[in-house]
């Protein structure tokens, strides 16, 4: 399942990397966004980190569960 989509994942990862590199060269943009309106965007970013990490964990749990279900199905047949 993952190997089938591996090239897509790699492309996605590289594009994130490219965006990240862009942001690195232009930190003014980041600082300006984060420091405006009393730094409220830092709070949004922190909530985003919580959400993203929990979601990534749930996805990994889902993948494991899928694999278990598949194994069980194979045994039954």
């Amino acid at each position: 399942m993952i190997t089938k989509h591996l090239n897509k994942i790699i492309v996605l990862f590289l594009s994130f990397l490219a965006v990240g590199a862009q942001a690195q060269t232009n930190t003014d943009w980041l600082e300006n966004t984060m420091f405006q309106s009393g730094k409220i965007n830092v709070v949004i970013a922190v909530l985003g980190v919580v959400f993203v990490l929990i979601t990534v964990y749930l996805i990994s749990l889902d993948v494991k569960l899928k694999r278990m279900e598949k194994d069980r199905k194979n045994e039954e047949t």
């Binding site: 420091f35 730094k39 970013a45 919580v50 929990i54 749930l58």
Partner: protein, 345 residues
């Protein structure tokens, strides 16, 4: 359905802490003053307010700066709009420190204070400076309102307390769950307890990563770097490494009985080290985190009462969320284990 109640309750409380944590206004404050240095002679400054309404009663506003025991009053003061005041100071006297503190007092907002607001530039620093003018009004509090304190540098990011701190509490809670299962395993030798302990430690690691991630973002825009050499940060990183070693140890021994025993003993050691590195050592030294030499979340001087109202439910709710995630993982892994056992015999 009835046994879902604590899961739904936790989710609702987390949602409520997000709504109240973001929706409650910040108390008025002075985030910045421009320029941030004061020259020998005449200096004009623009004071920036946040959530202030300076035009309400411009004549009643008092502005003063202090340096050591000395106080200096502006000889000119103009309210530009709700969030800007222009003041002109004339400072030629000797001063005690390099930094001036700024005070703004208004009838509506009370006394707002910006420590180390201004750096002296070309002023004579003396051990025994002359006393300055005496224009200060009595320091007063703002009218009662449900709001969060407006701290210099922190500003709105003080709300992160509701999302950063509970993840560490949740980590400690779920590692206690892990510890309890390890002790049960050592007593009874049931392999399911060993699986529970490992799963709880994994969820603990997830919450440690959330704590480190949120803390890192917060630190970047308040302390100025993604990672600073703060005892609490380094302690948390060491605790994460100690728990990573637990997983390595558990999976490196082939005999599952032996692996379980070794891992359970190591888990007890890891928990003690975690408490030492996360809870005890950072309190013994100076730290950028609040609460050196105390309990920051329960100390009356470190946490505002209005923030407690949101933080404590948030901690309880994240206990529930952590246990829920652990429960899902645990049920899954136990099912897998039973399946393997059935296949073997």
């Amino acid at each position: 359905m009835w046994h879902y109640w604590w899961k739904i309750l936790s989710a609702i409380i987390v949602l409520a802490t997000i709504i109240f944590g973001l929706g409650t206004p910040l108390s008025p404050g002075i985030p910045a003053v421009e320029p941030d240095r004061i020259n020998n002679g005449v200096t004009s400054l623009t004071i920036k307010g946040y959530n202030t309404r300076f035009t309400d009663n411009p004549d009643a506003i008092k502005v003063w700066i202090t340096n050591g025991d000395a106080t200096f009053c502006p000889y000119e003061k103009t309210v530009v709009d709700d969030t800007h005041i222009r003041v002109t100071f004339s400072v030629t006297e000797k001063i005690a420190d390099a930094f001036f503190d700024l005070y703004v007092n208004t009838p509506r907002e009370g006394t707002m204070y910006l420590p180390s607001a201004l750096l002296q530039n070309g002023l004579e620093v003396s051990l025994n400076p002359d006393e300055g003018d005496d224009c200060i009004s009595t320091v007063s509090a703002a009218a009662d309102a449900f709001d969060f304190p407006n701290q210099p540098i922190l500003n709105e990011t003080i709300r992160n307390v509701f999302y950063h701190v509970p993840s560490w509490f949740a980590m400690i809670f779920i590692l206690v769950v892990s510890l309890v299962h390890s002790v049960i395993f050592l007593n009874k030798g049931n392999p399911l307890s060993d699986i529970s302990a490992a799963n709880a430690a994994k969820v603990g690691l997830l919450f440690a990563l959330i704590g480190l991630g949120t803390g890192s973002v917060w630190a970047r825009f308040t302390w100025g770097a993604w990672w600073v050499n703060d005892p609490r940060l380094n302690g948390a990183a060491i605790a994460v490494l100690i728990y990573l070693a637990y997983f390595v140890l558990r999976s490196s021994v082939n005999d599952s009985e032996k692996a379980g025993r070794l891992a359970a003993v190591y888990n007890i050691f890891a928990f003690v080290m975690m408490v030492l590195f996360v809870l005890i050592l950072p309190r013994l030294t100076d730290s950028l985190h609040p609460g050196a030499g105390g309990n920051p979340a329960f100390n009356q001087y470190d946490l505002d009462d209005n923030m407690r109202v949101v933080l404590y439910p948030a901690i309880i709710a994240w206990f529930g969320m952590a246990y829920w995630i652990y429960d899902l993982k645990n049920r899954m892994e136990k099912m897998k284990f039973k399946q393997i056992m059935k296949d073997d015999y």
